[in-house]
Subunit: 278 residues, 2 copies
């Protein structure tokens, strides 16, 4: 399991110190961190914890949310993402996962319906942020989210669209995330992963399980519990030249309610069986 | 509202005779029928009812479900779709809406993970069915479903993918459905609608509303209640040369629990305000 990373949302009930210790105890070599967990522990303490533990930090989740309207929305998004880039650099990761944001006012009585406008806004703000990312030595990793999150979370919905954006910038500044849950259905997946090549900044895995729960955000399953062929997808990512971490990121209340040690054991077992096979 | 058609699932509590009368009373010139409602009334009676009412039948919902495994699965799917084609012809519509089916065993403990195989199966069965469709004078209208239904309902997830399939057959045999709910998020939507041209066999509308309900199948809203820009989408469909019916098809328990007359009034009002503007 030399490429396995635990994205700490998977063991959400663990604090950052607990997650770090859990990885060390289980022999997991890397961890993907979340900004709220880092803030809870304190940035300096978090930096020391992961360094002392000898863990690699595969990514920081997450920047983005670039679509708020007006000059205030723009300034707030830039300020927040600059903070996130700085934290990523401090934590020693080269990857800031970007969830780009949905339609302004999504879910309200009067949502914006200007999808093209929101997408243009994302491109605009990436243009502002990319040089800063370069300065910090951190890549903005655009994560296409499943189209069911298009209205409220991310107007970037396919890997092809993420690449159209990323390719406007130097490869060391802007990349993409391949998250199995979000992209598995895409009829153009094979060609777009091949196209992605060295733009792949992160490969995240979890499974598509049915039925979807009442809150569709929390419907992700352990690798092997659902409908995704992880061997085939990992082969595509490997063939594209990606040799980095494989991060297990699961949003699922039932899994969150399971003791962290047990969840991590399942993560490792499934990783060996379905992803990083010998 | 010269192009408005009521897809009868929108007034699900109405029987077919009630829906026909509702359309006549409200001046709606066309109706989209469902096979279960036709069967409930009896095919011959249904044919007479719509003919006597002077209603056009914009489509029959639905054929498809082509992905069941084995020779038995294939034979059953062919037989069922031939019956559907025959019913469509009897009812006087030239359009059979095709929901192609999901992964075999989806949602079970051991679902198929062979998405490419399921997609190949769809192509195979369309090849069997297309000449028969031609004989009946009915088009198989492939409906790409939202990617959140990829595992369990339709492995055809984008308009581009539907067109890749349809274009293997004569235009009078196989077309596509553009359903706003399923395709609105697609970053390639404008180019694919333009490409579709005379392949567009049906244009269906309803809105993407949030939050998604516990059963995501039933999350569709009245036009104007959600996040879709219907003026922009209708302009694209019109520009592609489509001059046919605009069918309002809504799956939503709250709307189904509303008296049919009231739902149809809302349908007409929203159609005038957002879709077929003067």
């Amino acid at each position: 399991m030399s490429r396995l990373s635990l994205n700490q949302i998977t063991t959400r009930n663990w604090s950052l110190p607990e997650a770090v210790q859990g990885c060390v105890d289980a022999g997991v070599p890397a961890i993907g961190l979340w900004r709220d967990k880092v803030a809870e522990t304190g940035l300096a303490t978090a930096v020391k914890l992961v360094r002392d533990a000898g863990l690699a930090v595969s990514s920081l989740c997450r920047g983005g949310f670039l679509t708020a309207p007006g000059p205030e929305g723009l300034q707030a998004a830039l300020a927040e993402n600059l903070r996130a880039l700085e934290e990523a650099a401090e934590l020693g990761t080269d990857t800031l996962v970007m969830v780009v944001g949905g339609l302004p006012g999504a879910g309200s009585a009067h949502p914006s319906r200007d999808l093209a406008g929101a997408r243009a806004r994302v491109a605009e703000l990436l243009g502002e942020l990319a040089p800063h990312a370069g300065d910090f030595g951190v890549r903005l990793a655009i994560e296409p989210l499943h189209p069911m999150f298009c209205a409220d979370r991310a107007v970037v919905s396919t890997l092809g669209q993420a690449l159209d954006l990323a390719e406007q910038f130097p490869v060391e500044q802007v990349g993409v995330v391949v998250d199995s849950y979000h992209v598995w259905w895409d009829p153009r997946l094979a060609e777009q992963i091949a196209r992605a090549g060295e733009r792949i900044a992160s490969y995240q895995v979890c499974d598509w399980t049915l039925p979807l729960p009442p809150d569709v955000l929390l419907g992700r399953g352990h690798v092997g519990d659902g409908h995704i062929d992880f061997r085939a997808m990992t082969d595509l990512v490997d063939a594209a030249g990606y040799t980095g971490w494989i991060e297990v990121e699961i949003f699922n209340q039932r899994i969150w309610d399971t003791p962290g040690e047990q969840t991590l054991r399942t993560v490792i077992e499934r990783h060996r069986a379905h992803v990083e096979t010998p």
